[in-house]
Each structure stands twice: as C-alpha cells, then as structure tokens.
C-alpha cells in the first residue's frame, strides 16, 4: 500500500517492502534537457554531488537518464538518512575543487563505454537536440564553469522539481532534504530528424537494431516482450544467426514510450540477420500475433509487477509518473489495466510501432528493398554565400553565407544554418565543427582552404557564443595539411575525408 506524503516540500511515496530498505531522490532533469554545447552537465553534477561519499561501504548510486536523474541508496535507515541529506548538501554546495578531476573521470568513463545501438538510434531519430543527446559525447565538459553548474542546479535540482521514494516502514527520522525553491520543469517535447518513417540508416556495426515511439501502456509493454520472443525464435533458435537478442520498453513523459529491439550479428551473417529482422517486424506490422503468446507475456508481467510491488521496485517508476504529472496508480489499478490487454490491442501497438520504426542495419547494408526510406545523410541545399574551393580539390567547396555554412563535394551537401545550430566545436588550432539541429554537421579545417584563418574568424563572428564548445588541443599529426600535387591513383585526400565525415551523420569525438 502506497502512502503519499511530503518531506521538506518534496512529494514522497512510501511503501512497505519485504526486502532491505531503499530510497531514492529523483529530479526531473536528464540528457534531454542539455543543449549539445553543455552536453554532460547533468552527469557532472551527479558525480560532484556524490563525491563526499567516497568509497563508503554501502550500496548507493547515482544515475543520469534521458528524462530523470536520481540518487539511490539501499541499507540501514541511518545510512539512508545520511546519504540523502548528504546528496542535498552536495547539490547545494558542489565541491568545485573537484571539477577538473571529475571531468577527467567522466571522460574515462565515456571512453570505456562505447556507443550503443540505442544511442545511435536516438541521434538519427531526434537529431542534435533533446532526446537525441544520448547519441553525442559529453562535449560540454571542457568548457563547463562553476557558474554553469550553479545555474543548472538552481534550474533543475530544486525541491519543486524533485520527488522521493522510500521502500520501508515510513519516513526515517532525521531526514532533512534541504533543497532550494524553484519550479517544476516538464520534459522537453522530442524533436524529429526523420521526415519519413519507417526509415533506416546504415549503422556500420555488427548489430541490427530498431526503435519506435508509440503511446505508453500495458499493451506496448507486452508487445516489447512478444517482439523479443519472435526475434529470439527467428534469429537465434531457428537460424542461429544472433546470440544476443533483446527488446526494451522505456516510458517517456507525455504519455509516450520508446520501444527498442537489438540483435547482434556475426560479420558474415549481417545480411541474414537484417532479413530475419525485417520479416519479424513485417509479421508484427500485419498483426501476425499469437493470442496464446500475448496471454503468456501478460501473465509474466502480472507476476513481475506483483513481485516488484512487494520489494518496492515499482516505486522509481511511480515517482517518475509523479514528476511527469501523471496519476500514481496502485497495483490493483495496474493489474486491472493489464487485464484489458488483448491480441488485438497488441497488434494495434505493433502496427503503430512499425509505421514509426527506425531501423539500423549492420555494416553498410541498405533496407530500401524492405520498404524503409533512407534517413537523410546530408542536406537538400547549399546556403547562398561565397564559395571557397578546397586547396588542391576544386570539386570540394565550402560555402560561407549570412545564414549558414555548407560543404559540398560530388553529389553530397552538408549544410548547417546558424539559426538551427546545436553546437560549434572549436579546436585551438582553428578547426571548427558546426552541428545542425538535424545532426548534419559541417567540419571546417582552415589548413585546407585559402585564407582559412580569416574564413574561420568570419564564421565565428556569426555563431552565438552559447553554442561554442572548446575542444582539447590536437596533436600536430591530427591537423590536416593541404595535399601535394596528386598522382593518378591515391588514397582520399584530407579534403575528401572532410567531406565524407561531414556528410555521414556519425558521432565524432
């Protein structure tokens, strides 16, 4: 039985648990709130707030998600009180002397993490804004100042933008959540970088993946597992093409949910994994869903929910709902809703999901043959402005105009409009990378253009200072040189590589 209460002005949900006591303090802020030029700020604050706990001998953690950030602890009542009080104190007075070190720790953490399929899907679906942020590195770290962090904590880590859960007998004595006043910050509305769906892009890795955004609800959650079972049967059991197959259901603010499906592929089996994946999705789209399977999955969800209720595992999701302004529902209400799930309701979700789908192929495979439209990999037009041919590569032109910048070569154009720019990466040697809202970027190497430094200065003058992102210095070997006179057969020149890099919307560090 859940009790709604309030602790120091912060809404709280308290529920008994059969397991050890645990509690969490959640803020309605995450990667989706970060401008690309400040990417990493929430994670940095989370780390700084936890710094005072060092390597304490108990189970605590912080987590920065797409729409929520939380601090969580499991243990004795006194330890939980010390932890949550300490987090609030840490947020109130971030240990700024740790700034440089925590930035380094985050860079190391990021380098070790690698890019996931879900991150790539987020970038291609949403572009270089809000829900596309998981696809980008924490580029903001280098330039973040103590003032930036204070402004961010004041805006998001306040008592009106927080909620608390406690799985245990009640609010522990001595709990004092000293957070400043503020306002609730609703999650941003997701942007779209996909003019047509279903769409696909070549992911370049040994993974086939897919996502879709649909209405949240038990039928959607059931469909996620029905899809996993179909993919597992088809790709692993029947044909042995994949080893890891999984799907996920992520509720979002605004009553929507993100569905993700991922299957790995041996390099020599990529085409077959894509073929099998496409067939499984087609069957789902056309409502080929087994009634008995829906019943089995719904039964599993019923058991999981009941068990989660006993151990307090439902609480974090309920607190997310609270922060998103959604009703907090008790177990009976949730189970009653689960009872309304039918084969037809799951088929309806499947049809909607497939219509919205974004497919990531393995390697460089295409999926147009399966009815998926290629997601844009470049821009439709070049800006009006002055064209500068690249040194030694007259076919490659940088066009600098009043409204934006383009790089064109062959059939490809990449354009970033200054009014639709998410960030401008700035290297000390003068290189610039303009990243557009649609995730198309234009990379400018001043050494490859006549009067390069003057050109870069002119472009800098047109970009908003808030978008500038200082990047660490590059070694001399990483700075391209203008090409020597070229023999007939040669590898791509630095200018050609610059174009390729600009046209393909891959994340670059």
């Amino acid at each position: 039985m859940i009790t709604h209460t309030e602790v120091d002005g912060i809404p709280a949900l308290v529920a008994p648990t059969t397991g050890p006591m645990h509690a969490g303090l959640v803020f309605r802020v995450g990667l989706a709130d970060e401008p690309l030029a400040r990417r990493g700020i929430t994670h940095l604050i989370e780390h700084l707030a936890l710094f005072s706990f060092g390597v304490a001998d108990y189970h605590y953690n912080g987590s920065t998600g797409v729409e929520h950030t939380f601090f969580h602890m499991q243990g004795a009542e006194a330890d939980i009180v010390a932890f949550l009080n300490g987090v609030c104190a840490g947020l109130h007075d971030l240990p700024m002397h740790r700034l440089a070190t925590e930035k380094e720790i985050l860079r190391t953490e990021e380098n070790g993490r690698g890019e996931s399929a879900a991150d790539a899907l987020a970038l291609w679906r949403h572009g270089a804004r809000d829900h596309g942020m998981p696809g980008y590195p924490e580029w903001g770290l280098t330039g973040l100042t103590p003032d930036d962090l204070r402004a961010w904590t004041a805006r998001y880590f306040n008592r009106r933008n927080a909620a608390l859960w406690i799985a245990g007998p009640g609010v522990p004595a001595g709990l004092q959540l000293d957070l400043p006043e503020g306002t609730r910050r609703p999650a941003p509305t997701p942007s779209s970088a996909l003019p047509v769906r279903p769409a696909y892009f070549a992911g370049g890795s040994n993974v086939v993946a897919w996502d879709a955004v649909v209405d949240r609800g038990p039928s959607t959650a059931v469909f996620a597992d029905v899809l996993k079972r179909s993919l597992f049967r088809s790709l692993r059991q029947e044909s042995g093409l994949s080893y890891h197959v999984h799907t996920e259901y992520h509720p979002r603010a605004g009553g929507r949910a993100l569905l993700t499906a991922v299957a790995d592929a041996l390099p020599e089996k990529q085409g077959a994994v894509l073929g099998g994946f496409v067939d499984v999705l087609a069957a789902a789209r056309l409502g080929q869903i087994d009634e008995a399977e829906v019943a089995t999955v719904a039964g599993q969800h019923r058991e999981e929910l009941t068990r989660a209720e006993e151990t307090g595992v439902r609480l974090p999701g309920q607190v997310f709902d609270l922060l998103d302004g959604r009703p907090v529902r008790n177990l009976d209400e949730v189970l009653a809703e689960l009872d309304t799930v039918t084969r037809d309701s799951v088929a309806a979700v499947a049809a909607a999901a497939c219509a919205d789908g974004l497919l990531m192929t393995a390697g460089r495979s295409e999926a147009d043959w399966a009815g998926y439209t290629a997601a844009p990999t470049g821009s439709e037009r070049t800006v009006d402005g002055t064209a500068y041919p690249a040194l030694g590569e007259p076919g490659i032109r940088l066009v600098a105009g009043e409204t934006g910048v383009s790089l064109a070569g062959g059939d490809s154009v990449a354009t970033v409009l200054f009014a639709e720019c998410s960030a401008v990466l700035q290297w000390p040697d003068g290189a610039r990378r303009f990243v557009g809202h649609d995730a198309v970027h234009v990379h400018v190497e001043p050494t490859l253009f006549p009067s390069g430094p003057a050109l870069v200065a002119a472009l800098d003058a047109r970009t908003h200072p808030d978008l500038r992102v200082p990047m660490p210095a590059r070694g001399p070997d990483r700075i391209p040189r203008p090409p020597a006179p070229k023999p007939a057969e040669r590898p791509p020149s630095a200018a050609e590589r610059m174009v390729t890099g600009a046209i393909r919307r891959i994340r670059g560090r």
Binding site: E238, S239, L241, E268, K269, Q270, G271, A272, L274, G275, G276, V278, D279, A282, A283, R285, L286, Q288, D368, W369, A370, G371
Partner: protein, 306 residues
Amino acid sequence: MLPAMLPRQSNLDPAAAYPKITDLRAALDAGDWPACRELLDASEQAERTYLITAVSDEKGLEDFLRGVLRGDPGDGTAGALLGRHLTEAAWDIRTRVRAEHVSREQFVAFRAGLAEAERVLVDAAARSPHDPAVWTARLVTARGLRLGLPEIRRRYGRLAEIDPHHLPGQQQVLQSLCTKWYGDAALTYEFAKEAAAAAPAGAPNPVLLAEAYLEHSDEVTDLDRVRAELREAAMRSVWHPDFRRTHGWVRTMSTFAMAFSLLNDQEAASSLFRALGKLGSRWPWEYLGDPAATIEKFRARAGGDT
C-alpha cells in the same frame, strides 16, 4: 503451322508437354481467380511453384492481382504470383545480358522493380509463412537485390523446412551459388550434390548436378569424373523407373541432354533426345544461342535422329 512445329524442330513451349499451363493462362486471361486457385491448390507444392513461375510473364497481371489482394490480403498464392510477376518485369528492364552491358538507368529501374516485388513478398511471407512459392520467389528477389548469400541461405532454410526437396527453389539457390553471382563452382557443386543425394529415387532434383556443370563447364577439367557423376545422377532421376513425366519433366530431361552433349557423352545424350521426341526447352540451350537450332545441331551430333 508455327515454325516451332516444323519437322526436326523441337516444340519449346512448356505448355506443349504440360497443358495445365494453358488452363492456368486461360483462367488468368478470363480474370477468373477462383479457377486459378482451384487449379493451383490442387497441385503438388513444387508443381504449384512451377506453374506460378510459368505464367508469371503474363501481361497485365499486376492490376488484377493487386485487386485480388485487396479483397483478401492473406492470399499467399496471389502474393507469390504478383511478386514473381513484378520480378519478371524488373528483369525485363535489366535484360538477361551480363552486368557490364546493363546501363546505370536500367540498373536503377531494375532495383526499384525488384524492391517493389520484394515488398509484396515480405507481406506474403509474413501472412503465409509456410508457402513454398513465396519463399522461392524471395530467393529470386534476394539475388537481384544483392542481399547476399547468408540471406539467400536463410530464405532457403525457411523453404526447406516446408519442403526439403523443392526443386524450383533449389534451382534459384544454385544460380546464386554460381561464380557469376555470389559463389563459385565448388559451392554450386556442393549444394547440387547434397540436394540430389537427399531427394527420393526418381525425383527430378539430380538435374541440379547437370545445371552445376553447365554453369561452370569451362572450369571443369576432370571430364571423366563429371560424366560418371552425371550418369549416376541420371540413373537416380530421368533414367529411373519412378521418374514421372509431370511438370517440368521436359526441362529436366533437356538439361541432362545438353550436359551430356557438352560432355561428349553421345550415347547418354541420344537416349534423352529420343525420350524427348519433339519436345524441348529454351533453357538451358539458349546459353549457346538460338535454342531450337542448337538443339537440332546437338541432336544430330548425338545421332538421335528420331
């Protein structure tokens, strides 16, 4: 009288030996889909796929079959035939010449046509996952769309689960395994031998060995061994007492005849020409030029002066 009916010229029309094709074409011409279904549903699985392939070049099928599918999206037979028809249309744009003689515009239109066919077949496979004609048609689109051998093998795996000896599908796999597409002679032979050995006695499937030889005849050096292998294949197939003169039998025998002719096994070739009488097949003779004239030339060389 048609030139094909003149004495000493084989009749190359597959319907000559197998009137069901004529019946099916008549039903299609009349727009009588229930009659088409009745005829096809009563056929054996491989025969049904054979018939669907045989009539897929009929003109004006697209609108008719799309109408059928609008009425019953789950009609796998209509899906397979429409997919096959669109594939034929795409191949007509590409033409059957080697890739270096195909223009860029032709390739773009070819790919677009195949993608159109494949989309019909994706849906047909989703709704009728156990239809061998659909999976056979998808083996053709997979090859043209360059989806690669792993995907072709996956599709064949789905087909073989339904019918492990589905010759029309096996012939499509064999084409993909050839040097001219994604494989080589060794892969082609390996597949042909396995499929031939697995088929029941008297079945047409050992013809795959003749096809493997014809596709790679310029790479074969050990002629005696190949001849012996092919004679053994014929013993299990066209020379077996259980060999049936049903759908595709003319092409099967005609293919063996051409392989024996090229291997200079005149005795074997002659016996097959005699069995064929006035009947023949365009494929695979068209590899050597005008099929009717080529057949006559090799028939004369074999001494099969019937």
